[in-house]
Symmetry: C2
Subunit: 534 residues, 2 copies
């Protein structure tokens, strides 16, 4: 498709079918490969603009929540097409704003449009809403049984905070936006200041798709804002009924607090980080040290380590095989060239984290070159540290996430120490086990611990590369996320933005299609206790 | 089955397979029909006993979470049988502690055992866990697709607070306990002080069932405690991963605060109350005024109005038909004899609520006899008030719940006033509409408002009588509940106590039965995007 000439970056917030830039503050994006500002300035939304976006979303909800799954699917599919139509304009802007390579941006664009189309299919198909029917028994004694039908219904307008590390797949038209729109909820996105231009391009694509598919004005808005005030105002607003966020623990817990202190508390789905423990068991290491070292190196350095699923901490037995593995892995990490990180904040936090370990006398530094906070380009250099299990247990700070291409290798001496080390962990997105069948029967407790600590258990592979599919769980107990019950990747995410509603003795005409007699949509539903797939 | 002679009320907390009474404080139950204390005293649990119950539950989780659905079903079915075996001992004690009639207690016992058996069936069948499988595509380009499988898994030990108004169905072995045990979570119940003897009898039945079906020690405990300290200590305890509560707004919001301030915040499912608006539309009133008045009278006085779903506020048009309806309803309410309420706290709050309206000069009092705080028996006398829509909009206190047999009739003049009145409502458990097809097409906005405000929409019937079935939703937006996403009645409740876990490239031997190749349990599951029912 040709690039649409009408779509330009102006620095304006998108308010439904309009745009606005009434504010006096602004922020420019910065090219992290040079440190130079990129035009234009993005004007921070005013309180009045926040109010307008919320009011539009509230009104839009009345009609958008009544659109059929097929209509929502049409909208989502059109968003995907409009994003594709942005073509190179989008790719170049995203590369410039994030320092990520063109291939990655193109891949992430494909993931984003694929995700939108997957949610479109789910919305159109309809079974996601878990429709259930219990039919009436009017002559039941002592009391008649009423007709009860229930399903998941959209909760209301949703605020989504874009993530710095996925300018497309976890941002303006990312997973939370796709799942909220698929569920029937209008969305207001708070753009991430480090890729505002990318955000505006995608927002204009969504705006255009909404108009072309005759969605209500206000089904989507995008607001810019440099500090925290726009985000706080959105989460505090009475029209908003749920929040999706991907970012720092400080940011996520601040939103949790705002949401819980509202006069009507609302759910916050904040994905806040993880060190994604990788456990190498002895037989697996003996059999496959080379492939594990290569795989770990790729996983630890992919995207300059800027993934929530980056393998930050690796548990390796104290053994000659373990020593040899480390030598190999350290060699690979040492040879990895420094790469541009997303922005100065992330680069500086990475440098601080690396320097904290480097300056710890109980930690062995294998690799930690030139971690500086102040060079023009935001370069991230790999780092590898090694520490004894007992030291790791002693010093809680060693288990903190260092967002970037740094890995800490923790040496354990026997099974009981490994169990103590793992029991000590807080909630994580993932836990990875490299193990043979023999290892697993010897270390069965390890699997059991991971079941209690993580959202996804990975066997003989690596945690990066989160497949977008129906079964994916990208979540995990606090503090990995604010709400370990759900996922931010994959189609299960649609129920983040819904609540159950029951209809008792409802006239057929007032029931959603999914609950009508005769099953007009042909959904899978639970009828009088039995699952029925037409 | 004969009454088991070994089961006695001793006043001791039940700690897994043991019991304890190390505390120095105690509370006796009170017969609300006389105001007299009933023996024995129930000893408040000590901090050490709270610790023991939590530690036992934490350990029990390791094995209980691995029991098959069939094993959990055996346990739940045995609990139902053991409760039935309590026979008249249970009925008499519950009648004495609550003032509820024997027929109600027997009915509620049947509902409780029926609910346990329903959850047993759900646990044994297995599809509740929403198993999903996406199979691997090893040769996919550019990256292989891994094998991902996910399902709902138990979250950990759960604390359940017993409700005063359902000594059986929302208490020791009530809905939250049944759903948590069905999901694979150990349960610690905090008994309600107004029916401690009933609680102990049921807890001993559960203890016996756990031993007979070889469940782990600590899968269930019951703690007594007069004040809030035992409950607070339980909700604060790091071993506890979720909370179920039915009771007051003050109690529920206090638990929400404790849970959100933990170093690991946990979900709280608090059902806190509702005025359950009933809307009478003109044609329906013209056609069926008699049956609506009779039905409303039964619903408003059932259980002395002590139901979360009691119809507290009824919207009636200003019209001669409306006046006639009110005359009829008032007559029925006036003729209703005073009945024993659950306890002095509830009776006193009811009297205060009634007197608040009685003393409001803008409110017409039709019935409000003898509302006294201090007689020996806790008698609840019916009350009916009438108020103009404009007054109701002016005075927020008129929309507060008055727990008991009191009803406020709100008169509206036209559709736009009715809409303003309904838009003004906060979240409710239910909303009821009496309407003909004509009414519905004229007042379509009313249905739309209810969809945003309530958990269950009832047509041409009454909100009391919550059917325990797969489709039931007994929930609703805050402040009706703390978490409007779920339900405390019906089989959907099982997912309150679970979280999603994904298994990537897992060996078959480590997968739960629900996710294994060949579908050994024959569950309904989503396989590569298609629902499969074997």
């Amino acid at each position: 498709m040709p690039v649409d000439e009408a779509i330009q970056i102006k620095g304006n917030s998108i308010l439904g079918f309009s745009e606005a830039a009434g504010g006096t503050e602004s922020v420019k994006a910065i090219d992290p490969s040079t440190g130079n500002e990129i035009e234009p300035p993005f004007i921070s939304a005013t309180s009045a603009e926040v109010e307008t976006a919320a009011a539009l979303a509230q009104t839009a909800f009345l009609s958008y929540s009544k659109k059929s799954g097929a209509q929502r699917a049409e909208f989502l599919n059109e968003i995907a097409s409009q994003i594709e139509a942005l073509g190179d304009t989008l790719t170049q802007r995203a590369v410039q704003e994030t320092g990520l390579p063109e291939a990655r941006i193109k891949g992430e664009t494909g993931r984003t449009t694929g995700q939108l189309r997957l949610f479109a299919n789910v919305a159109a198909e309809g079974s996601w809403a878990q429709p259930r029917i219990d039919t009436a028994i009017p002559d039941r004694a002592p009391l008649p049984k009423p007709d009860i039908r229930s399903m998941q219904r959209p909760v209301g307008p949703v605020v989504v905070f874009a993530a710095s590390n996925f300018p497309l797949a976890f941002s303006t038209a990312g997973g939370d936006t796709a799942s909220a729109l698929a569920a029937g909820c209008p969305v207001i996105v708070k753009a991430h200041s480090s890729h505002s231009g990318t955000a505006e391009l995608v927002a204009r694509a969504i705006q255009k798709a909404a108009q072309q598919t005759e969605m209500p004005d206000g089904v989507f808005s995008l607001l810019f804002g440099g500090g925290r005030s726009v985000g706080s105002a959105l989460v505090s607003h009475p029209a908003i009924k749920a929040v999706g966020f991907t970012g720092s623990t400080a940011g996520g817990t601040a939103l949790m607090r705002i949401a819980s202190e509202r006069s009507e508390p609302i759910p916050v789905y904040a994905e806040m980080g993880s060190v994604n423990p990788v456990i190498l068991l002895p037989q697996a290491l003996a059999n496959r040290a080379d492939t594990i070292a290569s795989g770990l190196h790729v996983s630890a350095t992919m995207g300059v380590g800027q993934f929530c699923t980056n393998p930050g901490i690796v548990f390796i037995k104290k053994s000659p095989e373990g020593d040899a593995f480390i030598e190999d892995f350290v060699h690979k990490m040492k040879e990895t060239a420094a790469q541009v990180m997303l922005n100065a904040t992330i680069r500086n936090a990475y440098c601080d984290g690396v320097n904290h370990l480097k300056n710890n006398s109980r930690v062995t530094t294998h690799v930690a070159n030139a971690q500086k906070r102040s060079d023009g380009a935001c370069l991230g250099t790999t780092a590898v540290f090694e520490v004894n299990g007992s030291t790791f247990l002693d010093d809680e700070s060693l288990s903190h996430e260092i967002f970037g291409p740094g890995t800490t290798l923790v040496r354990w001496t026997d099974k009981s120490e490994l169990i103590r080390l793992l029991e000590n962990f807080v909630g994580q997105l993932t836990g990875t086990l490299h193990a043979t069948d023999e290892d697993i029967s010897e270390y069965s407790e390890v699997v059991s611990i991971l079941e209690r600590k993580v959202g996804r258990i990975v066997y003989n592979s690596f945690p990066t590369g989160v497949e977008v599919c129906h079964s994916m769980v990208h979540g995990g107990p606090f503090p990995a996320t604010s709400d370990g019950r759900s996922t931010s990747v994959g189609t299960h995410a649609i129920t983040r933005f819904t609540r159950l509603i029951a209809y008792q003795d409802s006239p057929q005409s007032l029931l959603p299609q999914e609950l009508k007699d005769g099953n007009p949509l042909g959904v899978s539903r639970l009828e009088d206790g039995a699952f029925q797939n037409p």
